[in-house]
Symmetry: D2
Subunit: 339 residues, 4 copies
C-alpha cells in the first residue's frame, strides 16, 4: 500500500532532523527567543526583502493554530471573516475560529479562490450593527482544491481590501507549492507586500511541525506574543521550530522540496490528461483531483491510499492525490501503470 493521502504521511526532511541533532545540547533561551528562531526570522525577512522593523515573524506549531491565533488577535469581537466555502477554516478546523468568537461569512466558489466582486456582495448586505462587521478576508494559497493565485489576482484583492478597510490574511499551509507551481508569478516578497499577514507552512513541506507567520501591518503587531501564549502556542523549546525553519531557508531547501512535490503531482496529471482524464480543478500544485470511474477507483484502492473527494455522477468521482518532497518518481511511474 502506497499513500497519496496527504503531504504529511512521512515525517521531516533528514536535513532538519540533522540540524536538530547538531544543535541539541546548546543552552539557549526558551519560548522562541533562541538564536535559531531569530536566525530563521531573519532568513525569512531577507527573502521578503524587508528589514526587521518591517515584518514580525512568529513560529507556530500548526495551521489551525496559526489561523486561530492570528484571526482572534487581529479582530475585535464584532468583526467577521470572509472566506471561500472551501476554506480550511470553514470546514476542517472544528469551528476553531468561531470558538474564538468570530463568525465566518462564506462565499461559494468553484475554484477555491476569492474575487473582489464576490466580497463586495458580502459587504453589500452587512450594513448595520444587527449584523457582524466584515473585517478580514482570508484566502489560502495554494487553495484547498489545489488552485493557485496569480499576481494580478492577488493585487486586485489587495487593492480591494485596502479600499474597503478589510485586512487580507493568507493561509499558506502549502505556500511552498503555490510559490513554485508552474505558471506562478508570485513571490514571497509579493505576498508580504500585498497582504497584512500570511503564514509559510512548514508541516506540509518537510518540517516535523511548524508554520512561520509573517505580520507586516504595524497595527497588527503589538503584543502578538501574548496571543500565542494565551492560545497555548508558545513552545518552551521554541528552538525546535527555529532550527527547522533556519535549515529550510538556509539555501532554498524549502522551495526545492515544494518543487519536487509539484513535479510529481503534475507528472501524474499530465499522464492522466493524455489518457483523456478530466479534473475537478485546474491545479498546478501538489494536490490534484482527477475524475475517475468508480470502478477504477475501487481497483486503485487495493494498492494506494487517497481520499475520494466528491461524487460527480452515477459512475464517476473526483479523488484527491497529494504528493510531497518524499514522493518517489518510480512510485509515480508504478502508479501510472494502473491506468
Amino acid at each position: 500500500m502506497y499513500s497519496f493521502k496527504n503531504d504529511y504521511t512521512e515525517n521531516a526532511h533528514p536535513r532538519l532532523l540533522q540540524a536538530l541533532i547538531d544543535t541539541n545540547m546548546e543552552q539557549d533561551e526558551g519560548y522562541g527567543l533562541d538564536r535559531h528562531s531569530m536566525a530563521a526570522a531573519e532568513s525569512i525577512r531577507s527573502l521578503l526583502g524587508v528589514r526587521e522593523e518591517d515584518a514580525d515573524v512568529h513560529l507556530l506549531c500548526g495551521g489551525t493554530q496559526a489561523n486561530l491565533i492570528a484571526i482572534s488577535a487581529f479582530l475585535r469581537p464584532h468583526e467577521a471573516v470572509i472566506a471561500a466555502n472551501t476554506a480550511h477554516i470553514c470546514v476542517h478546523e472544528a469551528g476553531a475560529i468561531e470558538a474564538t468568537g468570530h463568525k465566518i461569512l462564506t462565499v461559494p466558489t468553484a475554484d477555491g479562490k476569492l474575487r473582489p466582486d464576490e466580497i463586495q456582495k458580502v459587504l453589500d448586505i452587512h450594513e448595520d450593527e444587527h449584523m457582524v462587521k466584515p473585517r478580514l478576508v482570508k484566502i489560502s494559497n495554494s487553495t484547498e482544491i489545489g488552485t493557485v493565485y496569480k499576481k494580478r489576482e492577488l493585487e486586485n484583492l489587495s487593492m480591494f481590501c485596502r479600499e474597503n478597510k478589510l485586512l487580507l490574511y493568507v493561509d499558506g499551509a502549502r505556500m511552498g507549492s503555490a510559490m513554485t507551481a508552474e505558471g506562478s508569478d508570485l513571490t514571497l516578497a509579493d505576498m508580504n507586500r500585498l497582504t497584512d499577514a500570511f503564514y509559510i507552512g512548514g508541516t506540509k513541506n518537510g518540517a516535523l511541525l511548524g508554520e512561520a507567520l509573517v505580520i507586516s501591518n504595524d497595527a497588527l503587531k503589538e503584543d502578538f506574543r501574548y496571543h500565542i501564549k494565551q492560545k497555548g502556542g508558545l513552545l518552551a523549546k521554541g528552538r525546535a521550530l527555529g532550527v527547522q525553519f533556519e535549515e529550510l531557508f538556509r539555501d532554498g531547501l524549502y522551495f526545492e522540496l515544494a518543487k519536487h512535490a509539484n513535479a510529481m503531482a503534475q507528472l501524474i496529471a499530465t499522464e492522466l490528461k493524455k489518457r483523456g482524464c478530466d479534473f475537478l480543478t485546474d491545479s498546478p500544485s501538489n494536490q490534484i483531483f482527477p475524475i475517475l470511474p468508480d470502478e477504477l477507483i475501487e481497483k486503485l484502492q487495493k494498492n494506494y491510499a487517497f481520499y475520494v473527494w466528491q461524487k460527480m455522477d452515477e459512475k464517476n468521482s473526483a479523488i484527491r492525490l497529494v504528493t510531497s518532497w518524499t514522493t518517489k518518481e518510480e512510485m509515480v511511474r508504478e502508479f501510472l501503470k494502473e491506468f
Copy 2:
C-alpha cells in the same frame, strides 16, 4: 555562562531524536492516529495498570495547551476552577483559562499545595447563581515551587473532591520529577486512580515537545479529540509526539531522566544546607529555591543564569535553580565552589 534557569534549556534526549530518525520515512496516519502514538498510549496505560477502555491518552504539544484544552472541554460555561495562587494557570499562562471563559478561584498557599479545608472555604462562599460554580480542582505535581504531594495528601484531596462533586485534574509538567523525588510514595497508577485526568509532561523531561494527557473519568472522554482540534492542538504529524513518548516509556528512560534531574538539584540543596543556607520551600524535586545574600546572587550571576524568584528582606532573596536530565555533576560541583 551556565544555565540553571529551567529544564528546557537544552533540547531533546538523543534517544528520542534517534527514534525520530529511525521512523522518519514510514508512511503513517496523521493527527495522532499513527502506530507510534498508539503504542505510546499503550505503554502509558500499561504503566498505569489499566486496559484501553479505562483510560484515554492524548498527546499534546505543551503544558498551557494541555491545561486549556482539558479544562475547557471538562467544564460547562458557568463552572470554575479552584487552584493555588502559585499555580501556573493563575499566573503564567497569559489568562489562557479565562480566555476559554472560565474563572479561576485562587487559594493562597505557602507551599503550593491545595488542601481540602481550604477548598471547603471556597465552596462555602459560592452558594448560588450570582457566583460561578466551583467544579474542578487543579493541582500541579510537582508544584511550581518544587514541592511534591504525598499519597496520603492526594488521597484526601481525591476523596474530598468526589464527595463534593468536584473534578480533580493534575498539571504534571514535572510529573517525572514528582514521581521520582526522594520520599515520594505516589506512582502514576495512584495518580490515575485518584484523579479524573492528569498529564505527564514530556517537554521538561527530555522531549522536544509533548505532554501526555490521561483521562480516566468516562464522563470526560467523549469527543475529546474535537476539543484538541478546535484549540489548534492536533498535529498533522502527531507521530512526532508518539515516537518520543514511545521511547520515553520503552524501558523507563522517563523516570531515569527525572531521577537524574532530582539528584542534581538535591546535590546542590544538600551542600547548601550544610553551609547553613535556608530555602523558600522544602523541595525534593528538580526545582530548588535557596535564599541567598543579594551580594552573593550578584556574583553568581556573572557565570550562571537563573531566576531571582522573590525578595525576602533588605539583603536576601530566594533564587530558583532548576536542573534537568542534561545537568552534569561536574557543572554542579563547579557551581558549588562559588559558596
Copy 3:
C-alpha cells in the same frame, strides 16, 4: 406617516402597564424569584398541561438574549447549531451565537422552514473531529419570512432529531402569531412535547420587553440560572417581566393580541391577492411579503414606513409589512386605498 415596519413600533399593551402600576409598591424578591414571575411560570405550565417538574420557565429580556443564553448553555464547545439561512441567529444577531463559541451550519431554504432531509445532508458531511459536531437544530415559528410550521412538520422534525441525538430548539419571537395563524394546528402543548426547549415571545406581542423560555428536557435544566446571570440576563427587578407575562396569560390576552395582528396582515394579503398581487412567501401570520412594482413602492413610502425586503427583478421588489395588536383596521383600509 404610518408604520408597518415591525411589531414593536408602539410600546406595551395598556393592561400590562396597568398591572405594573397595580403591583408597583409591593415588596418582593429580586432576580425573577418574585411571586409574579412564579405565577407567570405557573400559568404557562398550565397552558402546556404540565407539572412544575416537567418544564422550567425562565423570563428573559429579548430574543437575541434568549437564543444566546439557551444555545450556549445547552452545547459543549465543539457542538454546532443547524439553522435555516434565513434564521435570525444567522443574520441579524451580530454573530451572538458565534460570540459564545459555536458555529452555525446554515441550510438554504425557500420558505424559511427546516426539513429532516436537509438536516440529514448536513449530518452526512460532518463525520469526524476535524469538523464541528452538529448538535442542536434551531427553527423559528413563525419563521423570519412569515411561514408557519404544521403539526405534522414539527412531529417529523422532532422524531428525526431524537433519532439523531439532536436537540430541537424553537425561537418563538412570534410564537403568538404562529399559534393563532389560520390553518395552524399546533398548540403550545405540542410545542413543548415535541421540542427540548422553546421560547414564547412577549416583546413582539404586547409586552414592554420579555420572552418566556420553556425547557422541558431535564438534561438541559440544571444550573440554567447561572447562565442567565453570566450573560447579563438576570434582571434585579425580574418582576417587571413576571407581572407582564402573568397578565398576558391570565385570560388569553396573549392569543387575542396575536390573532388581531394576524387578522390585520391577512386583511391586507387577501385584498392584495384580489388585485392580482404575488407574494414572496405563503404567510398566514402577521408578516407578509407582497411583491410590488418599484414605482408603487416609492409612492407608498411617502405615507407608510416598511422594509423593502428583496429585489425580485428589474421593476419589482418584495416588501415586508408587519402588523401587531396595535394595528387599527381603519389604517389598514386607508392603506389599501393606495392600491
Copy 4:
C-alpha cells in the same frame, strides 16, 4: 415583614410608569434609536456639560450586562481588568467578565476603594507575555460596601491610569447615591472628565430597569452598538429605557430619589451610632453595615429582611441595610425602636 434587603425590592417610581403610559402609543424607531432615548442621552450630556460628539450614551438593561458589554468591547483578548476584591464583577456576576475571555486581577481592599499604589503593585508583577496585560481599572461608586470616592481620590486614580495607559471605568449601579452622599464633592461632570467610561444606574434608583453607559474616550466609541447587539443587550423597544431616563433627568428626579435613599440610611446610621453601634465601613450612602450582636440580629429578622454580611467574632456580625427612594421615614423610625 419589611425589607431593607436591597434597593430594588419595589418597582419603578410612579412618574416613570406614567411616562411610559403617556408615550405608549407613539410610533417610534426600535433598538434605542427612538426620540426618547435620544432625548435622555441629550439630558445626560447636558448634565455632563458636553456636546454630542464628546460623549456617547447607551441605555442598557442591567449592571452585569453593562459591565460585560463595556469591558469586552474595550479590551483585546490578552488584556485584563484590575478591580477591588469586593467588586461586583469579581464576586457576584457569575464569572461574566471571564466568560468574555478576560481575567480580573483582584486587589484586596478594606474599604472597597482602589488606590494607585495598590494598582502599581499589580503592574509591577505583570511584565511579559507569559502573563495577562493589565489594561482597565474598574471601580464602583458608591462601592459594594457603601463607601464613596472623593474628588481628590478619583483625580489621583485618573492621573495614574493615564500615565500608565490604563483605562478607567466606573460601575455606577449606585451612582445616584454616590453623587448625593453627604460630603461627596464629585459631580457627574467630574466623573465624565476623569474616566474613560462609566454608567449611571437606573435600576437601583427608581427605574424599572436601565443603566446609562457614558463613553467619553473616543477610541472606545467605535462600533459600540455592535457589541450591545451581540451580547443580547439591544432591546427592540429600547424606548422603554429612553422614556425612563428622560423622566429621571427631566428635572433632577434622579438626584432627589438618591438623596432620599441616603437620608434614610443615614438616619439609621446616626441613631445607631448614638447607641454606640460600630460599622463595618464608613458609609455615607444608602448601604450601611452596622455590627450587631447575633442575638439582636435574630430578633430583628422576625420583622425585617436584610442580609447578614459578615461574621465579625463569636457573638457579633455585620448586617447590610439598604434603603431606597421607597423607604418611608416612619418605617425607619419603627425599625429604630428595635434598638
